[in-house]
């Protein structure tokens, strides 16, 4: 019950890598004074020198130089796994909030409807759209295409995508999610995680029988067991700790962080000093594994 009150402290970044990265720039940094390069996104020319206008990573493609910003909204690419929230039900489509600049769309024709994989969408289906997905519902989906204005078109045409049931959503920066072959993981600690490329991370109890979960629009409202809940809460706090110290998120880093946090109580993980300690341990483990 006792409230934990403290004076704020200046947080130093916890980092074990000491090497200076040449490809990271802040606004105003001169990328090159060579005039042979082309000016891409995130750069401008100042006195014949190519200068960065955002903080981020320099990318070169032949003669084109771009800076990919670190603090950004989600710039989707085809094939990205996203977690999103339905904001609107419209004709033949749902609008989905995915942390992009524009709301994404999920077309009625790009979801798997119950009863038959490939059947024509009738007018009746259009009328019953709210029965499948309602405003506020969470879904996991894949980016099918990108429209010319940058809006994303999603699809859930696989059994692993679909409506999400009971669990916890953590909203982080999209730059912190590491691109991997799979973004769905059943962690050995007893919970599952969907690391959406858009920075939305979904934590849920690993479903016992596979066929019931995912893909369908049915969600179980049975209470989640206390032990699963504790694991999920611990993972949630671990994710926030890693994100606060800008550690790249993927299954291994999350799992190592979970293991490092086991000696603390779940609610203590978010205290700054505990957070620092856990992240430090995680980075050590990651370095050991690499080296």
């Amino acid at each position: 019950m006792a409230a934990d009150m403290r004076l704020p402290t200046i947080r130093k970044p916890v980092s074990l890598c000491s090497g200076e990265r040449k490809d990271l720039v802040v606004p105003g940094d001169v990328i090159t004074s060579d005039t042979g390069f082309m000016r891409g996104h995130g750069t401008y020319v100042d006195e014949d020198k190519l200068t960065a206008s955002v903080a981020g990573e320099v990318q070169r493609v032949d003669k084109l130089i771009c800076v990919r910003p670190l603090k950004t909204r989600f710039n989707g690419e085809v094939g990205d796994v996203v977690v999103g929230r339905i904001t609107e039900v419209q004709q033949k489509r749902w609008k989905v909030e995915t942390n992009s600049r524009l709301d994404s769309v999920l077309l009625l024709s790009s979801v798997n409807l119950p009863g038959g994989e490939l059947r024509r969408r009738s007018a009746e289906d259009e009328l019953t759209m709210r029965q499948y997905l309602l405003e506020g519902d969470l879904i996991s989906a894949e980016v099918q295409s990108v429209f010319s204005d940058g809006a994303l078109s999603l699809h859930t045409r696989s059994l692993k995508y679909g409506k999400l049931g009971q669990g916890v959503l953590v909203q982080l920066s999209p730059s912190l999610i590491k691109r991997q072959k799979t973004h769905f993981h059943n962690l050995p600690c007893g919970a599952s995680i969907i690391l959406g490329n858009n920075g939305f991370v979904w934590l849920y109890a690993t479903p016992s029988n596979e066929e019931e979960e995912a893909g369908g629009f049915y969600t179980s409202l049975e209470p989640v067991s206390l032990s699963d809940r504790e694991v999920i809460s611990r993972l949630r706090n671990c994710l926030l700790a890693l994100a606060a110290h800008k550690v790249l998120l993927y299954d291994t880093s999350v799992l190592y962080c979970y293991e490092s946090s086991l000696q603390h109580q779940v609610k203590d993980i978010l205290k700054p000093e505990v957070m620092e300690e856990i992240v430090m341990l995680t980075q050590q483990k990651l370095l050991e594994q690499e080296g």
Partner: protein, 291 residues
């Protein structure tokens, strides 16, 4: 009020968690998130404090001005409240969007703080019926993640503790008129006694239980909440019910008891922290807004 969308399944998850006394972030029902307090953050006020409670951040500035006492109470000064909802906190506050919430908050603050039992208003009197100190308390919401009342009350208490009112000397001139002279010495100032200043505890009814320090997600699951202001002795000075739902007398009683207990526990660490900060004096490392 800033709101978030939460799906039905998420609500069920949160509800069951609170029933089992394990909330999404690992806290119990009567736990606060960790609080960071810094006073003396704005140099052009007489007293100021910045409080962050989880992801909720408020800034309070107090300015002392000489005014005329209210005719009903000629020997007392008074407090004025203004709550500014910055659009930085949430885009909903843009334009006049935050006005309603601001008025609601400031009305509650008047009730809680502007009476002689909370603040020693007599000490604000300069000459009865003619001059008194008016404390303008300005609250700025920087980030909203639920539980605004509690965060604001802690910040106000800290800012009142920090307030330094210059001493005044009244001298009579030949014609019998009075002249007020402010002391030139910046260290010659009067401090307020904040011992009896109450803290607000908001209890939200979620399912069949009540929780303190709700996040926005939890708030979305609750129908009604009770705002209680409690002094360090455990005396309740003000209660208010907010939200559309109803509360039965029995649960109001339970919530009041819990509020008393939690509120009492809030004061000791707060005062200890303020004393500690005060004793550091100039050695204190200022963090401010960039920490």
């Amino acid at each position: 009020m800033a709101t978030v969308k939460v799906s039905e399944a998420e609500k069920v998850y949160i509800l069951h968690g609170i029933r089992d006394d394990l909330r999404v972030d690992g806290r119990g029902c009567e736990d606060y998130r960790h609080v960071e307090i810094e006073t003396d953050v704005v140099s052009n006020t007489d007293g100021s404090a910045k409080v962050t409670l989880g992801y909720t951040a408020v800034l309070v500035g107090i300015k002392a001005d000489i005014g005329k006492p209210k005719p009903m109470v000629p020997n007392e000064g008074y407090l004025e409240f203004f709550v500014d909802c910055s659009a930085n906190a949430t885009p909903e506050f843009e334009g006049r969007g935050g006005e309603e919430l601001g008025t609601e908050l400031s009305n509650t603050l008047y009730k809680v703080f502007n009476n002689k039992h909370s603040v020693d208003l007599k000490s604000l009197c300069i000459s009865a019926g003619e001059h008194c100190w008016v404390l303008y308390v300005d609250v700025l919401l920087l980030q909203c993640d639920g539980n605004l009342y509690d965060a604001i009350s802690i910040a106000i208490k800290a800012a009142l503790f920090n307030t330094k009112i210059p001493r005044v000397h009244i001298s009579a001139d030949e014609e019998g008129g009075k002249e007020i002279e402010l002391s030139d010495d910046p260290y010659d100032c009067m401090r307020l006694d904040v011992e009896n200043v109450p803290c607000i505890v908001t209890l939200c009814k979620v399912g069949h239980r009540h929780v303190v320090d709700v996040t926005l997600q939890e708030k979305a699951c609750s129908v009604a909440s009770l705002i209680i202001s409690v002094t360090h002795k455990g005396t309740i000075t003000c209660t208010r019910k907010v939200g559309g739902g109803s509360l039965d007398p029995e649960s109001i009683f339970e919530m009041t008891e819990a509020g008393k207990r939690v509120g009492k526990a809030l004061h000791a660490p707060l005062m200890a922290l303020l004393q500690q900060e005060e004793s550091l004096g100039k050695k204190r490392q200022k963090v401010g807004f960039l920490g």
